[in-house]
Structure formats: structure tokens, C-alpha cells
């Protein structure tokens, strides 16, 4: 059901010049930071813990719990992940352009609660306007006294740096991001021992949180963790932005109440996706970004709930829902996703680097009509080598989970649309043209 829960992180969308300090202050900006600074860091953390805010970057880990795991050695650092590159996810891009002050305020609240010595906002390099907007916002915030020494006279001081990336999907993975922030190639680090909370940036304890995650903090501090928890159901509390794309009439970012809203609402409600284009039939949808296993129409009535989707064998992931209608060639769709992972593999692990390449080649050969009958088993065998047992969540064979995510689209497509693969192979070409 589409509920009437008010928007939290997108409330300022549409406010003229929403990215300026003036507009931000006129709409209640920095009140959350002021209130947080009047509380103890422990009290702020307790509110976030009560809220049960789940990370919005992909892994869905409780934000409050992550903070509580920060190891003792100091200095500790805070890194905000604005690298957003998961295919068909475009919410952080929008937040960076439309409401950069909210990200800065959330960053500062997080820095205060965790005692971070310095904060870095890592912004995907391609987001030129976003980088310009948040840089301008940071200048304004310093001049306003919200960042830097003795913030609002509270005695709390912290500096924030906007760090532009340079184009690499893998840098969204938190340990690769830290390597990149240290001026190196974006190679993920092994966990353990390199859990950011223990050995993060410069081998110091580090909190990594997503842009949307911290954008919720001003509201939570102002309205209480209980109020946040009052939205949604179970562990999926609050509202969340879902990036809807593909064959819907109104592809856009929608902030909706978690769990209570269903995929059917998101895709078909006139106020949300507005239904499939040309009144076509829904063929399949991906519930949480290109890394996630696919769902068919039989999953439409499931709530946008992290645990429900997890139990059904997929994930809400980065909050991107991709809709494919009956005209879609599923071989092509899974090939395109696989090619993406092959291209973006950092190359450190053999199953990911080589396996991704083989899968890319075999899918291309099927799609272009040169496939063989044995190819389906071959695909599944390679997938099984990358992610043994093809279970979800996948088993770990590599340093990060990019590799084990590669099978998602392939095993989904073969399971749901095996006939389509066979037609490609038997007829020597794509039936969709």
C-alpha cells in the first residue's frame, strides 16, 4: 500500500535553489546538528540505534550498530560513500545535486556521534554538478560556522573534505574506496583483517556510511529514533528512496515507506511508476540493483522489506528496481549485466577476473546466434565455480562480493527463461531481433 508517510530525505526536492544555504536554513536546515551538539555523542548514537536505520548503500547493515563497532585506537575517520555506480541506482546522484547541505549536516552528526577526527565525502567523479554543488555548500557551511573549529560554539571541531573519485565501479566497495582515497588503485582489501571499523583509512578505525544513510540523521535527531522506527515494519524502518527504471511509464526516484509499500505499488501506482509502458506485460524485475537475483510477477505483492526480499532469495541492495516488459530479450539483459561486471572487475581474484570474462563471451555467443546446447551447463558450471552451490547470499571465493554477484543475472535468467536461451541456440539468433 502506498502510505502517506512524509518524505524524510527528499523533503526539499522542488524547493527553489534547494542546494543553497539560504534555502536550506529556511527549511529547517542545521537544526538537527544544533540539537545533536546539545546532546552527548552517546545519546545521538542511541537515537540512531533505536531508529534501526539500515545502511542505504547496499549491504543494509544497521548504522547504529556499525558505529558501536568502531575500534578504540584514535584518530578515527569518517568516510561518506557517494560513489554510487550500481547500475540503475541514481538516488545519491540526485541528493548530491538537490540537497548537499543535508549530506553535510548528516556527516557532521555522524562525525560527532563517532568522535571522528576528520570526515571525507567521496563523490563519484562523474557527478560534476554534484561535486560543484556540494563544494559550494561546504564553503557556505564553513562560513556559517557549521563545519570547522568549535562548531556553533559547542567546542566540537571537525573538518570535512570533498574527495572526487575518478571512475571505477569497484570504488563503491568500502575497502576499495579507502584504497582509492589513499591515492591508489581501487583494489578491495581482504576482510578480515581489514574491516574498516578496525583497520580502515590509513589503517585507523573508520566508519563508512552511504550518502542516503547519513541524510536521514538530521531528521532522526530532530524527531527521535522512535518516530523513525514508527515508519515501516520489523527491521525495515523509516522511508527509503527507490530508483525505479526500465519499462515503466514514470521512471524516477521515489521515497516511500519501507516494507508497507509493495513492488506492485512502486511499479503500478499512478503516483509512482504508473505501470508498464504501452500497457505491456511485466516479464521480470530486479529488486535491488544489477547484483541482485531477479523476481517474476509472482513477487509483485511482496513489501519493499529487506528481510522479506532476502528470504525470497534476492536483496534490496542499492534500492534500485529495474523493470523489464515482455519485449525484453533476457539473454541480452543478462549478457549486458555480465559484461558490466567483467569490465569492472578489479582483476585481483581469478574467479572474478577470468570467470567474468568467460561468462561474458559465452552469453555474447548465445545472443549473437553462435551458441551451443552445452553452453547452458557451461554457464552454470562457471557460475558454480565463482559462487559454489549458487546459494544466496553467495559463498565467498574472492576478496570482495563483486565476483560472487556475477552469477545473479545469469542463474536467474536461465532459471526463469531457459526456453529463451534454447530458442537462441536452436534458431541461431535472437528472436527479439
Amino acid at each position: 500500500m502506498l502510505t502517506d508517510a512524509a518524505a524524510i530525505v527528499t523533503a526539499r526536492l522542488g524547493v527553489p535553489n534547494s542546494w543553497t544555504l539560504k534555502a536550506y536554513l529556511e527549511t529547517g536546515g542545521y537544526a538537527g546538528l544544533r540539537k545533536a551538539l546539545s546532546m552527548t555523542p552517546e545519546e545521538v548514537s542511541a537515537e540512531v540505534m533505536t531508529a534501526n536505520l539500515l545502511g542505504r548503500g547496499g549491504a543494509g547493515f544497521e548504522v547504529g550498530r556499525k558505529w558501536s563497532m568502531l575500534a578504540k585506537p584514535r584518530p578515527a575517520y569518517l568516510v561518506i560513500n557517494g560513489d554510487e555506480s550500481e547500475p540503475c541506482t541514481y538516488k545519491d546522484h540526485m541528493l548530491l545535486e538537490a540537497d548537499p547541505h543535508q549530506i553535510i549536516e548528516g556527516t557532521l552528526i555522524c562525525a560527532y556521534a563517532t568522535g571522528a577526527a576528520q570526515a571525507f565525502i567521496f563523490v563519484r567523479g562523474e557527478f560534476a554538478l554534484g561535486i560543484e554543488r556540494i563544494t559550494a555548500a561546504l564553503n557556505e557551511a564553513y562560513a556559517y560556522g557549521a563545519v570547522g573549529p568549535n562548531i556553533f560554539g559547542s567546542g566540537f571541531s571537525v573538518d570535512v573534505v570533498i574527495h572526487p573519485g575518478a571512475g571505477a565501479y569497484i570504488c563503491g566497495e568500502e575497502t576499495a574506496l579507502l584504497e582509492s582515497l589513499e591515492g591508489k588503485r581501487g583494489f578491495p582489501r581482504d576482510k578480515p583483517p581489514y574491516f574498516p571499523a578496525v583497520k580502515g583509512l590509513y589503517m585507523q578505525p573508520t566508519v563508512v556510511n552511504n550518502v542516503e544513510s547519513v541524510s536521514n540523521l538530521p531528521w532522526i535527531v530532530l524527531n527521535s529514533g522512535e518516530a523513525f522506527k514508527g515508519l515501516g515494519q520489523g527491521r525495515s524502518t523509516g522511508t527509503r528512496i527507490f530508483s525505479l527504471s526500465g519499462h515503466v511509464r514514470q521512471p524516477a526516484n521515489f521515497e516511500i515507506e519501507m516494507s508497507k509499500t509493495t513492488f506492485r505499488d512502486l511499479i503500478y501506482d499512478p503516483k509512482l511508476g504508473g505501470g508498464i509502458r504501452h500497457d505491456n506485460q511485466l516479464k521480470a524485475f530486479i529488486p535491488g540493483g544489477a547484483s541482485a537475483p531477479w523476481f517474476g510477477p509472482d513477487h509483485l505483492d511482496m513489501g519493499l522489506d529487506q528481510d522479506a526480499v532476502g528470504k525470497a532469495g534476492s536483496m534490496l541492495g542499492s534500492g534500485s528496481v529495474i523493470v523489464m516488459d515482455h519485449t525484453t530479450c533476457m539473454v541480452r539483459a543478462s549478457w549486458r549485466i555480465t559484461r558490466f561486471f567483467h569490465r569492472e572487475s578489479c582483476g585481483q581474484c581469478t574467479p572474478c577476473r577470468e570467470g567474468g570474462g568467460w561468462l561474458d563471451k559465452i552469453l555474447h555467443r548465445i545472443e549473437s546466434g553462435a551458441g551451443r546446447e552445452a553452453d547452458l551447463d557451461l554457464l552454470l558450471d562457471i557460475c558454480d565455480n565463482i559462487a559454489p552451490g549458487l546459494s544466496w547470499p553467495p559463498q565467498k571465493t574472492t576478496i570482495c562480493v563483486l565476483g560472487p554477484s556475477i552469477p545473479s543475472s545469469i542463474t536467474s535468467a536461465i532459471k526463469m527463461f531457459r526456453d529463451e536461451f534454447l530458442v537462441h541456440i536452436k534458431e541461431g539468433g535472437c528472436p527479439f531481433g
Binding site: P87, E126, N139, H163, A166, G167, G183, Y202, H247, R336
Partner: protein, 200 residues
């Protein structure tokens, strides 16, 4: 094709000052170098390495990992057409084919006049407006083939010069304050904002 200009050396020093460890400034400095020349010249990379006390090989080794950093020349306009899933489902491949025909270069190529480099890219996070593309990382959505040709025309004639700066220029807003939290004597970073995109 040169080392960094004195102004850019100052900008790079300011960047180094923002991080606990100097090497963290490497990628932001490479963006400055790419803004200066449109791509990363060997001389500029060597200069950056000198400033950070790392070898040119380490600079190149890092730069070559990243899609946005070019170690060979590119056109003044880098046209990046997305063909990832949301765009694929909405005509992105056809848009790329049209772009190739219209510009007369295959993806990866540069026009003879050095005006345009065309590339096929992965998702650029503008999926609500698929099919989409970026020119020097300024975004254009719901791009029809006609709209593409108009866009190229506008870029060629300079009508979009304000919105789309030359390739390499990422952020036209300069940070105007140094680190101040732990060090009251910190000096503000050099040049203040040189025009923003506000209102764009």
C-alpha cells in the same frame, strides 16, 4: 603539454594540505592536471609525482586504473553514451549507433578535428532519463537521435560553452577554506569560487 602552471601548483599544494597523508591528494591533483591540458601529459604526471614524492610509474599506475583519467589525448568534448541496463531497455544501444554514424567515429574514437571523443560507458546514474549521455560529465537525458544532433551542433558552435566546459574541467567551484578544526592558524585555501552552476 607541460608541467603544471604556478597557479595549478598552488592548487595542488592546497589539496595536499587537506589530507593527513599527502598521497591521498593524488587523484584530485590528477583532475587538476587533466583540467589544465584536457588529458594527463607525461610531464604533468611527473610533476604531480615530484610534489608527492612518488615515482612517475606510481602516478601512471594509479591513473591508468581509472576510467575518467586519460593518459592519451582526447577531444575537447568527451561524449559518454550509456548502454547499461536501463538505457539498453530504452534505446541506448541505438543511440550509440546513431552517435557513431553522426560523428563518423566508432566508440573509443576521436573526430579528426579533435572536437569529439565518443565512448560507450557503464551506468552514469541518470536512469530516470534513459537513454542518457554525458558530455564532459554534464548530463543530458531522454536523448532522441534528433536531440543528439542538435546537441552536437550546439557544442560545435559553442552555444553550450557555459554549461559544458572543456574536457578535464570537473569542478568550477573552489574550496575557499583550509583545514581549521585542529589548527587555528590554518590559512584559507587560495582562490575563492570562480563561478558556480547554481541556477543551472
Amino acid at each position: 603539454m607541460a608541467r603544471l602552471t604556478p597557479d595549478n601548483v598552488r592548487r595542488c599544494r592546497d589539496l595536499i594540505g587537506l589530507y593527513p597523508q599527502s598521497r591521498s591528494a593524488l587523484i584530485p591533483m590528477l583532475h587538476v592536471a587533466q583540467e589544465q591540458d584536457g588529458w594527463l601529459t607525461p610531464e604533468a604526471m611527473e610533476h604531480v609525482g615530484e610534489m608527492l614524492d612518488i615515482t612517475p610509474a606510481e602516478v601512471y599506475g594509479t591513473a591508468s586504473f581509472y576510467d575518467m583519467l586519460f593518459t592519451t589525448p582526447v577531444g575537447r568534448h568527451l561524449v559518454s553514451v550509456c548502454t547499461n541496463l536501463a538505457c539498453l531497455l530504452n534505446g541506448g544501444v541505438e543511440l550509440l549507433e546513431h552517435a557513431e554514424a553522426s560523428l563518423g567515429v566508432a566508440a573509443g574514437g576521436t573526430t579528426d578535428d579533435g572536437e569529439f571523443t565518443l565512448e560507450e560507458v557503464e551506468c552514469i546514474a541518470f536512469c530516470g532519463a534513459a537513454p542518457c549521455l554525458a558530455v564532459n560529465w554534464r548530463f543530458f537525458g531522454s536523448v532522441t537521435t534528433d536531440a543528439f544532433d542538435h546537441l552536437v551542433d550546439d557544442l560545435r558552435t559553442g552555444r553550450l560553452a557555459d554549461e559544458v566546459p572543456p574536457h578535464g574541467t570537473l569542478c568550477r567551484v573552489r574550496r575557499n577554506v583550509g583545514l581549521t578544526a585542529g589548527d587555528a592558524t590554518a590559512t584559507p585555501v587560495a582562490a575563492p569560487a570562480a563561478g558556480t552552476t547554481e541556477g543551472a
